[in-house]
């Protein structure tokens, strides 16, 4: 059995650098010079560096990846790059949504809240793809919507979760069958070592569904599985994405740990639209729109109002 690597600051740093050098999926797409970054942030470290100094160097190194799926978990802190949403308007206000649109008597099935808005426009809010729903719950929701004139699917602030949930819900919304997503993964240590390419096809559900005009509301906090959900619907002519570009996160994160026991995660796969467009940095809406936050005081959600206007 091979010996363990040494547990000192430089070895820990080098282990992190090397693991990502060999297995991280997005260096080329993001035009990252990993060699250069590794040298820059290694320079202040020595065998006498403290845990905090080591963490800080690693934080700087990982921040440069601009990837919400990259985190280092130390006992005293977690590195992250959340610029994908902190650098953009939030475009969402739960209080306004709950009090003025969902109302007191909206329905809840699994993780989905749903109701009718004005003029027979159906509204569905799904706040986390980690919140499950059953097939029967989806049946109930889409039966309830069967007479609706149009549908607003609101996934703002949905940070992701289960891809299975994303596929299950998307199947209830699509009209045409086809390839909706492509992916591959890093299969070796060389920069060109990508393989295991896969095409994801989606066909409309034979169970209760909704294939009339639909608006998908997104903001920058739509990440990971939610980003993929938006990508799955991209090829459907009757579904229009409105709001801000999704946050991204097209790679599937995998976990590992350092000789000192800290663990970390990073993206090991890449995802593309059927047209070949990379979705790591987000899915761009057909109708880009930011909220006018002054409307919050009037109890109005400008994105929902814009969606209602589109569906009329």
């Amino acid at each position: 059995m091979r010996d363990d690597p040494k547990n000192d600051p430089l070895t820990n740093y080098n282990e992190l650098w090397q693991r990502l050098n060999d297995r991280y999926a997005y260096f080329q797409e993001k035009n990252i010079n990993w060699d250069s970054l590794g040298t820059i942030y290694r320079a202040p470290l020595s065998s006498a560096s403290s845990d905090e100094e080591l963490f800080s160097a690693m934080d700087s190194l990982l921040f440069a990846l601009r990837d919400g799926h990259v985190n280092l978990f130390a006992p005293f802190n977690i590195t992250r790059n959340w610029e994908w949403y902190l650098g953009s308007p939030q475009n969402f206000n739960w209080e306004v949504l709950e009090r003025n649109y969902l109302g007191r008597d909206h329905k809840i099935a699994g993780g989905i809240r749903y109701t009718y808005l004005k003029d027979s426009i159906a509204y569905l809010y799904y706040g986390s793809f980690s919140s499950n729903f059953s097939t029967e719950q989806l049946d109930y929701i889409f039966n309830y919507f069967k007479n609706a004139k149009g549908l607003i699917v609101d996934v703002r602030d949905n940070g992701g979760g289960s891809l299975n949930n994303a596929f299950s819900l998307a199947q209830r919304l699509i009209k045409t069958e086809g390839i909706v997503l492509l992916s591959d993964e890093k299969i070796g240590p060389n920069p060109q070592d990508f393989g295991n390419g896969r095409q994801y096809s989606l066909s409309p559900s034979s169970r209760p569904n909704f294939t009339k005009n639909t608006i998908l509301l997104t903001n920058r906090s739509c990440y990971s599985a939610t980003n993929t959900f938006a990508a799955l619907l991209k090829s459907q002519a009757h579904i229009i994405q409105l709001g801000d570009t999704t946050g991204g996160g097209g790679g599937l994160p995998v976990d590992y740990e350092l000789p000192n026991g800290w663990n970390y995660r990073f993206s090991s796969t890449r995802s593309f639209l059927a047209t070949g467009e990379d979705i790591e940095m987000g899915v761009i809406p057909e109708i880009p729109l930011n909220l006018d936050t002054s409307e919050y005081n009037l109890g109005r959600d400008g994105l929902i109002e814009a969606a209602l206007a589109e569906l009329h």
């Binding site: 059995m1 091979r2 547990n7 995998v254 976990d255 740990e257």
Partner: protein, 257 residues
Amino acid sequence: MKKLSLLALLAFFCAHLQAQSLFEGEYILFGLGGQMENFKDDLVSPLQYRGYSGAAALGWHSQHGAWQNNLDGHIAIGLQSPAALNNVSNQTTTISGSINYNLRYRLVNSEKQALFLGLCSANLIGFRQHNLYSNSSLSFSNFISYGLSASWQYQPQLKIWNVKLPFAWQTEFNFPLASYLIMPGYNRQFFNDEAGLKKHSFIGDFWHLEFRHNLVYPLKNGNQVRLSYNWNYAEYNGLNYLAQAQHYLMFHLLFKL
């Protein structure tokens, strides 16, 4: 007085000590014991993990004349943590096990000793779940190996104070030459719901060795108890390095069929 009582008890249990091999016949085997599990799995950690497991065994052993057939397996479940680190919450839960078949022929036979040589199918499995990981929390290894096998039996016919102590000893050694490996892929465990790596590998790319030492004591009705120590080691030098080592100590009860 205590010694005399103990010897009388032993004499009672081995009422019909026989000159013939204690290994002769057919037996079904049940075992319980403990295992020390060590592994280094490049999909999980750069660190060696170590911990203890509870283990159980089941098998069928047969020896008729010059032929020996053994089929047995064991399963163990336990927790491991990085061997070199203290006070960390990093932990794996491992389910591991083995299924072995040996067919051997007796080449050397004397009054007290016998040597068998033959073939083995030695299969070693391991499923490891890391408590701090999400998408890649599961790792696994399966060595479906085949190669050479040997066993040496020694039946000394001990006497202490004129009381016969019919202990016997058996050492077995499995030395696979090739293995079909089922493991995770480079970054992810599965592709299209199948294990990421499935391939034949030959000695050098992989190592798989197994030693067993059995101390055998016959009971009155032809049954046996055995104290068994096993050492099982498997290593793969591929894109993801993996080494798995098990030491297990088992108490076996063998019922003569």
